[in-house]
């Protein structure tokens, strides 16, 4: 069964109001073509789970600008004044989560765990409303799993089956969110024949990938 799908058909699957995890760190390793298509199709009311909202007009910043987002679970919005403006104006609900805890909460969902115990945030405002657990005399916060309807993953290379490899710091949240969503949509820089990626280099195994966006227009 082929996983190939057109960009527009992939994004049409995402209903308004869906919860969507998006890979990327300051736009590095974000699925930029998918994000632009979400804006083009005028999606609204999305819950976006991501590390940060990049900059205005770039990466996830495009979704913020287009008012596509109702709720945000993220670790950092400091580089995007528009996110802060919408938060202060009450147009968008923002839950700030320490970066390591955000990654672990997503991992917990994808790995079938009931949450993680972390020292991060214990005794701070992050602990408000959360259970504190003592382990061997040390205090940990119980951080609960985060799951989503969709994960939008950016990879450096995919093979025809959907095995994925990443490059440099563009990996970040991508392999983690690929475990934690009902439907996983992948945008790869390059698509290569099955077998071109060796088993040991594959970071995200193909069974996690539902849809692989067809390659963009070729140059030359």
């Amino acid at each position: 069964m082929t996983k190939a799908i057109t960009l527009s058909a992939a994004v049409e699957m995402i209903p308004d109001g869906a919860s969507v995890m998006v890979g990327g760190f300051m736009g590095c390793g974000s699925p930029h073509r998918i994000l632009q298509e979400i804006v083009r199709q005028g999606k609204t009311g999305l819950t976006i789970i991501c590390n940060d909202t990049a900059r205005p007009g770039f990466g996830i910043g495009r979704l913020i600008e287009a008012k596509a987002v109702a709720k945000l679970q993220t670790s950092h919005i400091g580089t995007n004044p528009e996110t802060q403006r919408q938060m202060i104006a009450g147009e968008i609900e923002v839950e700030l989560c320490p970066q390591g805890s955000l990654a672990e909460r997503i991992r917990a969902a994808g790995f079938g765990l009931g949450g993680v115990l972390t020292p991060t945030g214990a005794g701070t405002v992050v602990a408000e409303g959360k259970q504190t657990v003592e382990v061997d005399g040390r205090s940990f916060l119980l951080e609960k799993p985060i799951r989503a309807d969709f994960a939008l993953v950016a990879a450096a290379r995919a093979d025809y089956r959907g095995n994925l490899v990443y490059l440099g710091t563009a990996r970040n949240f991508n392999p983690i969110i690929a475990m934690a969503a009902t439907t996983v949509i992948v945008e790869a820089q390059e698509i290569v024949p099955t077998g071109a990626l060796t088993p040991d280099e594959i970071i995200t195994p193909h069974i996690l990938v539902d849809h692989l966006i067809e390659r963009g227009p070729s140059h030359g």
Partner: protein, 218 residues
Amino acid sequence: MDEKVIIAKRVALELKDGDLVNLGIGLPTTVARYLPAGIDVSFQSENGIIGMAPPPPAGLDNPAFTDAGGSPIGAFPGAAAFDSCMSFGLIRGGHLGVTVLGGLQVDELGQLANWMVPGKMVPGMGGAMDLVSGAKRVIVAMTHTAKGEPKILHRCTLPLTSTRRISLLVTELAVIEPTAEGLVLREVAPGVSVEQVIAATQATLIVPKTVTEMAIAA
């Protein structure tokens, strides 16, 4: 000497050969410029790399190699890239030798506040809470006062980054070590008196018999 250069130069003396180091955005990033000769450290960037190198020549940068601020970086031979769980596992799991962060306030318990000013600035904590909770040594590099207002206080008034006691505080005036007994004044900057430091500090400082001068080159 510019106050931020004093701070960066003094912090650089804290880095030991072989350390894995994470430098925060802004002033802490400049610490890398002043590494003492013969000291070889690896820099981690929390977006997923150990062995971060200065950016390549303009036009040769790769969008898949950036620092935590999104700016282009290079990678030294032997660099390793990984996902965010691994990156924060390194940080939280005690594998990171030193983190250098900026600060808004530090208090007598050695607690740091550096991630928000309610009602004014809410950038989010990013990786700061994990870094302060998990690194082996936490060094705060910040100016001693903000527009004349003290930043080293009896108790932080801003939301804390962590309740953990930081390892060392370096300002343009002093080096202060938070201990179980309180804030101990270890060093003063060249030309700065102990009295000047005390006057610029709201917190009570413990002043030992010997307070040395920062060993920074002009």
